[in-house]
Symmetry: C2
Subunit: 327 residues, 2 copies
């Protein structure tokens, strides 16, 4: 294992310290590093709270700030955060308008966020994301996995929360964005969890894993590496077929951590053309490493069908470590 670390047991802690120090204008680290929260809360605004296993950076802590999340709870690498983290974060960021949990569909995450909600006496709703069309059930998952589309849910719901939408409205909007969103991934290499010290899965020098999960979970099939156009054709067909609608879309090419920008933009080029064949036009774009799997090479394609409400939320100002733009 070749990593820039000191001690495997301190990787998350040291990384969080650096993260919050680098973004001290926006963020505060909670006691015992239980959560990362916005420095400045907005009274009367519904608080958005997410979290999950670490190793997917910048998801979720990189999306804390104006226009997205109020707090994120980082678990150990590929391990759910514990309910006491979500409770501590809830107490820190609830200003009285209630809390929306945004949770990727993995059994550990769903269970721990549910437990936190049950233990709390605050008004809490939950949006579960499950945008990955690759497989139905999976390791760690009953039903579809929540992957890169979670970013889109957090962005669009975050914008509405900033503008004062009520808890029930935000819950419905989050569910709607999730339903409008589909993703699928492909891996060329495995990731390596620091504490494990070796690759999560073995893969040959000329193979790829089609439909891989963001923890290196198996996808649909292990096949010989193909040309980008062929890979994209299969991924886009799965996504478009599952969406079952034509229209304008956000096309999001998400790097898993080990694939350079040059390849991600090449994949964007291929995906945009393939989507057009299915009657889906890319009207908004995002390309980069946003929902990663440590150092895994590969990427996912996410498509969100746009309506006026979703476009407005996507385009709204955002000021977080990893997504930042103004009108």
């Amino acid at each position: 294992m070749k990593k820039l670390i000191n001690d495997v047991s301190n990787v998350l802690s040291e990384s969080l310290s650096g993260f919050v120090s680098a973004h001290a204008d926006i963020l505060i680290l909670g006691d015992e590093q239980k959560f990362v929260r916005r420095k400045f809360l907005k009274p009367g605004k519904v608080a958005l709270l997410s979290g999950g296993g670490s190793g997917h950076e910048p998801l979720h802590a990189g999306f804390v700030g104006h226009g997205m999340l109020d707090a994120a709870c980082p678990g150990q690498v590929f391990t759910s955060p514990t309910p006491d983290q979500m409770i501590a974060a809830s107490e820190a960021v609830d200003t009285g308008a209630g809390i929306l949990f945004i949770v990727k569909n993995y059994e550990g995450d769903v269970m721990n966020f549910d437990m936190a909600r049950e233990m709390s006496d605050r008004a809490i709703e939950t949006v579960i994301t499950d945008d990955d069309v690759a497989v139905e059930n999976s390791l760690y998952t009953t039903g579809r996995r929540g992957v890169a589309g979670t970013l889109v849910v957090e962005k669009v719901v975050g914008a509405a929360a900033e503008q004062g939408a009520a808890l029930g409205v935000l819950k419905a909007l989050g569910d709607k964005v999730n339903r409008a969103t589909r993703s699928m991934g492909v891996a060329l290499t495995s990731c390596t969890v620091p504490a494990a010290g070796k690759p999560t899965f073995a893969i040959g020098d000329t193979e790829m894993e089609v439909g891989v999960g963001i923890h290196g979970e198996p996808g649909r099939r292990r096949v010989a590496l193909e040309r980008a156009d062929v890979i994209v054709e299969e991924m886009v067909a799965a996504i478009a077929g599952d969406l079952g609608q034509k229209g304008d879309a956000l096309l999001f090419i998400n790097g898993f951590g080990g694939t350079p920008a040059m390849e991600l933009y090449l994949m964007y080029n291929a995906a945009e053309k393939q989507l057009a064949k299915h009657g889906i036009r890319s009207k908004r774009a995002l390309v980069g490493n946003y929902v990663t799997s440590l150092d895994m090479a590969g990427c996912s394609i996410t498509v969100t069908l746009l309506d006026d409400e979703i476009v407005k939320g996507w385009d709204s100002p955002v000021h977080t470590p990893a997504l930042r733009w103004a009108l």
Copy 2:
């Protein structure tokens, strides 16, 4: 070689097509893909033009837009762009106030930008960046190499150009920012150039290259992989020793493409502490993959000593594909 590509001869072309399509709100691709330019020019503003070999994305084309570059000329991977590219770009973006070339110190780049300047009858000045303290001369380089500090020069000079500074003033500012900036890198793996199809250099499973260049050029020494704190101590000592001054600084941890955010923030944490021992306080931070070497694992540390003019330029609004913020 495992890459998401179609044909090695089309990687750059397809990637540029995707890049400009994804950022069509900001950018236009020049004829024959000779350059990427701003969609909207600002009459009377000095034009900033950079470029270099591809494979370092988002540098340089990712920094074209309001507050940074007016155009960037992409060469083939790790190969200088040709003078006709710079001439075509100059003609496209010069609005009469002259052009500033920002060029990383590699023999091919310097020669080709010089040739373009000589062949042009426009008012052109050149800033050469040479921030890498690792080695004096190198493969491809007489004198020090220009690396990640180039981003800082482009950002600060870009802000001043946006505010109407004249060509001579911008040239002097660029030279000043370069003099205030030092970098050093470390690689854990090699990069793989698509056309070569194999790693640029061989490195053992437990080795690192201290002082590596952004094309995988040799650095100071090949040694056993160490703890992050030990690596950072050596890099920061080299940077701080060469700067020879205390003060406030921008601390920029730049990923080479294959190293995840979790490790980059851990390196930020370590570097901030080490800098403090040398009397340098991190007052501005940038962490991420900005000046990459394809899929190389590793990172560089860049430190720019701040004065009021440099802070003002750094903090000014910017709207490019890879750096985007408002006041």
